[in-house]
């Protein structure tokens, strides 16, 4: 095969492990698997019954696709599929952390800042200014304007600010207008999130309960 190999077969004490690449097309995995089983690894795969563990990496597959894999391997008489496993997807928080954009400055009236991912603004968002973000919005400063987190439909997004005094907050499709709808005392160190489709405000210290963040300080 000329192209890059997507399947690695490893022998262990218990049998064989099929390591399937998690970035390529599922169909090309099937093709390659079939090729390997029937052609290139024929001699390896004949003989006594061998247990097979299939590891999919971070790829998430449906039951249907699992069945496709199983039947393909089963065609080879001596192979017994023991398990098909995929790792849990990398915790979104870690991913988020990688794509956090840090910006310094003041977003003034009439200015709009748009970002794909999470945004940390070191400065103020003034009334009349707009922040649009597909992920979370963190403001190290005063949030006085309009902030829209998860604006492409991410309901998990939050908006956090040192001083949360917005003219309007939006998360995904939910719009909230303080102080008509809510107003807290000093507005310091707070964040907004969605809970059952409604906007809620809480102190920053409560964020870890909401997010069930991976423990960062375990070591």
């Amino acid at each position: 095969m000329t192209e890059k190999q997507h399947i690695t077969i490893k022998g262990v004490k218990e049998g064989l492990i099929f390591l399937l690449d998690d970035h390529c097309e599922f169909s090309s995995l099937l093709d390659e698997l079939q090729f390997k089983l029937e052609k290139s690894h024929q001699q390896l795969l004949s003989g006594p019954i061998v247990h097979v563990q299939v590891k999919l990496g971070t790829r998430q597959v449906s039951e249907d696709e699992k069945e496709q894999l199983r039947s393909l391997i089963r065609q080879q008489g001596n192979l017994l599929v023991q398990s098909i496993e995929s790792e849990p997807p990398i915790v979104s928080q870690l991913e988020d952390g990688n794509n956090l954009k840090v910006l310094t400055g003041i977003v003034r009236s009439g200015q709009t800042l748009e970002h794909d991912g999470n945004l940390l603004l070191m400065g103020d968002l003034n009334p009349g200014g707009t922040l649009l973000c597909t992920g979370d919005i963190y403001v190290l400063g005063a949030l006085r304007g309009l902030a829209h987190a998860g604006y492409k439909g991410n309901e998990e997004a939050i908006i956090a600010a040192s001083l949360l005094k917005p003219t309007q907050l939006r998360i995904s499709g939910v719009i909230s207008r303080p102080p008509d709808e809510w107003m807290t005392g000093d507005a310091a160190m707070e964040f907004a999130y969605l809970s059952e489709g409604a906007m809620k405000i809480d102190k920053m210290t409560q964020l870890q309960r909401l997010r069930k963040l991976p423990v960062l300080f375990r070591a």
Binding site: R108, S109, G110, P127, A142
Partner: protein, 263 residues
Amino acid sequence: MGEAIVVTSGKGGVGKTTTSANIGTALALLGKKVCMVDTDIGLRNLDVVMGLENRIIYDLIDVAEGRCRLNQALVKDKRFDELYMLPAAQTKDKSDVSPEQVKEMVLELKKEFDYVIIDCPAGIEQGFRNAVAGADRAIVVTTPENAAVRDADRVIGLLEQTQIPARLVINRIRANMVRSGEMLDIDEICQVLAIDLLGIVPDDEKVIRSANAGEPTVMDPSSRAAIAYRNIARRMLGDMVPLMPLEEKSGVMKRFRKFLGIG
């Protein structure tokens, strides 16, 4: 080479023209050579506030269209020899002059004057672009109202884009309303706008009276606003002048009025 300073605000009616006239006059009072430029074409006011309306022969548009030389259009002030004004046209429109033309004029004026004070029209359209075209610095005027602060913020954003450093003048502050919490206070405004504060001007009836009389308020040292404008001019020259205490001074005024039997 002098310095060109644009006085702008975004919102109308916050006192751009009054501030321009008073700062210009205050600088002249401190012995500087000053030219004020009115860029509010179609709605000129600076000449009225300065009481120079009847001396206008040519205006900014005449210069732009080549009907006269720049120094022919300059109107000399009646009080100071070193204070001039370039009036706007009343009949034309903002679009009848381009930012490049204004810039050229301001550049020429800077050669001759220590300070060129440009009075900007309200809004952020062509008139604003004309006014800021030749400016080295800006003075943003606001009043302690949400709408004015919002517009000032917008204008500061635009000035930042053109990299013109701006300083803030808060106009028409009423000490008693600030004290009772009905009016935004200075700290709040400065926190939102986050630029250097050049000065605060208390609300003073004398400003209206003197504007109607065509006499800039600065000339009347009994007015608190006049002192405020003089302080602003001194700060522009680099002096360290403390901000006028609103509270205490109003107490003095009250006592003074009481003493005169009118308070």
